[in-house]
């Protein structure tokens, strides 16, 4: 364990091969960063500083690690990656700098608690893993451990399993699938965090443990297909886990498929103006835009509005990249409030989301701004379930 404020050899290895040296210093990343105005997080400067860590300038004193503290502000929204004219991927440099800090043990206390909780209990909330499937009580959902072999796995995810508001997404999914007579199982208490946020926080060792644990379960139960509630889980399972024979879909993709096959019978009209908020991890990381819209267009009575900042221009809610567990000192307001304002200006009655992080943060923003009577925040699955089952779960 080193206390030097300068980088050691092993630490330089972590950043040596990144793309900071093809960076033009054009500043498009900083201009597109939703945190820049709020906390001063400056991706361009961080790229520059990384260059100086590896190739120190002879005319200046060497950089110390205290100068990169703002790396914890990043939400990994991917705007910088999309905008960079040289594909230098600034967010990767930020994650690498985070890894250096993590390996030194130099992590904000709330993030430390979340990581320790994920390691010990499989979720960031400090709640026993025995309670992970409490949302499914009384719903008669099959557990993989009792089935032995399963075809379709519904990977619930931490926020959806433990957050009382987000649990409703899982219940809506379960109901929608049941009514459409789709057979599926859950891992229940055996499920562990997917590790996407762990990876975003730079804790590579913990990410590997989580990945191995989950893959072992997928193999044990001979899973063929996985649907996830959360785009972060989707991102981890599809892009980082390398599951060769297992198809991974986000729940909006799965539900859109069902609609295409005419497998969904809608029984109720939802006559509302609905705007869709593209989650960063569907739109910006994985180029998925149409499926959630297709679902909403097919909901009888619904009028789909397009927000000014949508698809790859979507406004980040501010919760990714570990920000759910970290308050940036001095941050005055969260990006979510901008989104709510935009939604209200567009005249929407429902803001449809497809991510439990977005759901949680945007709903909080609605309450903070006092517009609960004018705007509802709902997951696409909840809207769909209401239109199928005829009642709000």
């Amino acid at each position: 364990m080193t206390t030097s404020s300068f980088l050691e050899k092993e630490e330089l290895k972590i950043i040596k091969d990144l793309n900071f040296n093809i960076c033009l210093q054009c500043g498009k990343c900083t201009a597109s960063c939703p945190l820049f105005q709020r906390t001063g997080l400056n991706p361009r400067t961080l790229m520059r500083k990384t260059l100086y860590f590896v190739f120190p300038l002879k005319t200046y004193p060497p950089l110390s690690l205290s100068e990169i503290d703002d790396v914890w502000d990043c939400t990994t929204c991917n705007n910088c990656v999309i905008r960079c004219p040289r594909d230098a991927k600034p967010v990767e440099t930020i994650l690498a700098l985070r890894t250096i800090l993590v390996e030194r043990g130099n992590v904000p206390s709330t993030i430390r608690e979340a990581l320790e909780s994920i390691y010990k209990l499989g979720n960031p909330f400090g709640i026993s893993n025995f309670k992970r499937a409490d949302w499914a009580r009384d719903l008669n959902i099959k557990k993989a451990s009792s089935e032995g072999k399963i075809d379709l796995l519904y990977f619930t995810g931490c926020i959806t399993s433990y957050d009382s508001r987000a649990q409703n997404i899982a219940r809506s999914m379960a109901t929608a699938l049941k009514i459409s007579e789709i057979d599926f199982s859950i891992l229940a208490e055996d499920e562990s965090c997917c590790g996407n946020e762990v990876h975003s926080l730079g804790e590579r060792g913990l990410f590997e443990i989580l990945m191995e644990k989950n893959i072992e379960l997928f193999q044990r139960y001979a899973v063929n297909k996985i649907i996830t509630t959360c785009p972060h889980c989707f991102n981890a399972l599809r892009n980082m886990y390398r599951l060769e024979d297992i198809e991974v879909q986000h729940h909006t993709q799965f539900l859109a498929d069902l609609i295409d096959k005419n497998a969904i019978a809608f029984s109720k009209n939802i006559e509302k103006r609905i705007a869709f908020h593209d989650p960063c991890y569907l739109a910006k990381h994985n180029n998925i835009f149409e499926e959630p819209r297709r679902i909403l267009e097919n909901v009888p009575g619904a009028i789909l509005l397009e927000l000014e900042h949508s698809r790859r221009n979507s406004l980040c809610c501010g919760c990714g990249g570990g920000r759910m567990w970290y308050e940036s000192p001095g941050e005055v307001s969260r990006p979510s409030e901008d989104r709510i304002k935009e939604t209200m200006d567009a005249g929407a009655e429902i803001l449809a989301v497809a991510c439990p992080f977005c759901l949680s943060e945007l709903e909080d923003a609605v309450k903070r701004m006092g517009c609960e009577d004018k705007l509802q925040v709902m997951d696409v699955a909840e809207i769909m379930c209401e239109a199928i089952a005829g009642s709000r779960i």
Binding site: S109, T110, G126, I127, D163, S164, R165, W325, Y326, E327, R334, D364, K367, R368, G370, E372
Partner: protein
């Protein structure tokens, strides 16, 4: 049983509340076992305290010396060892405080006597000391037996007993002829008082207290909103201080403030004793904690076992609604 010995704790020229509570508990034990109740007070310029103690014990032993003007574990140990070896009391009760727990275990080792700490209740049967104490942060309690000795030491938790004065005044005996050996290896430098601060929790009518369940700083504005809506003052439990989310002046509990407001709303607080001690005498306690087994529900008047983030925004709006804002 012959005698129960009780160590009095005092600070800034006054006997601390816990002293009276322990004496009352001791009196109860002494009556049941036909034993004498003896209080010990150690310090300097403490005759007036001995006079006060005499209404709570059959005999008060007073030892005065400049060197024990403040609590000093080594000197206290020497004095108490001498008394115990001389009088051989069956039970020695010490207040469970920072000073009490610094003294009791070493006394136990020096005299080879069993010791048990943080006791809620005690009884003596067949030469055995039977106590009730908490485990796992208050989620469970246990009946614990101490045996195999003629003498036992127990430290008693604060706030578990009322204090009852007696009509009859006991005898006061000055202890003499005790030679204290100097202890150059341990020196008490000073006692510092808490600084005066801006918010006075102890005089607030309404307190909104937050605990670990709040997650992190980003959620504090919600607590501030509730506090504003309801006209209260914000306080917290230990983990919030350890995480540096609020300053130490906001701490309610054993190492912080003891408060008795009209209304105490405990949010995301598990209810471990060192917090509960500081607020359990509030007139009305409402607790919100996701865990239905949280010990806070043992002291609350009304309990809500739901996600605090589900309840709080609605509660804030409802309060504002009622107040016509």
């Amino acid at each position: 049983m012959k005698e129960i010995l009780i160590l009095a704790e005092h600070r800034m020229g006054k006997l601390r509340d816990i002293t009276f509570e322990v004496l009352t508990k001791g009196r109860e034990l002494a009556r049941k076992n036909n034993a004498r109740l003896t209080a010990v007070i150690i310090g300097h310029d403490i005759k007036h305290l001995a006079e006060e103690l005499a209404y709570y014990a059959d005999e008060v032993l007073i030892f005065e010396d400049q060197r024990v003007r403040e609590f000093h574990s080594e000197y206290y140990q020497q004095i108490l060892s001498s008394i115990i070896l001389d009088r051989k009391p069956e039970i020695i009760l010490i207040p469970h405080t920072s000073c009490g727990i610094e003294l009791a275990p070493s006394l136990a080792i020096k005299l080879n006597i069993p010791v048990i700490t943080d006791v809620l209740d005690a009884s003596f049967e067949n030469g055995q000391l039977i106590v009730i104490r908490e485990y796992f942060g208050g989620k469970l309690r246990a009946r614990v037996i101490l045996r195999g000795s003629s003498h036992y030491i127990a430290t008693i938790r604060a706030g578990i007993s009322k204090s009852e004065k007696s009509e009859v005044k006991g005898r006061i005996t000055e202890m003499r002829g005790l030679n204290l050996a100097d202890t150059p290896y341990k020196r008490v430098i000073e006692l510092t008082k808490p600084p005066p601060e801006a918010t006075d929790l102890t005089s607030a009518d309404v307190i909104v207290a937050v605990g670990r369940g709040i997650g992190d700083a980003k959620n504090l504005p919600l607590i501030e909103e509730l506090s504003r809506a309801i006209g209260g003052v914000i306080a917290c439990s230990r983990p919030i201080i350890d995480m540096r989310l609020l300053p130490k002046e906001r701490l309610v509990g054993l190492s912080g403030k003891v408060v008795k407001p009209k209304l105490y709303i405990a949010i995301g607080i598990s209810g471990q004793f060192y917090h509960v001690y500081g607020m359990m005498n509030s007139e009305l306690i409402v607790a919100i904690n996701k865990d239905p087994n949280a010990p806070i529900f043992n002291v609350a008047d009304y309990g809500i076992a739901r996600d605090i983030f589900e309840v709080l925004p609605r509660l804030i709006n409802k309060i504002r609604e009622i107040k016509g804002e």
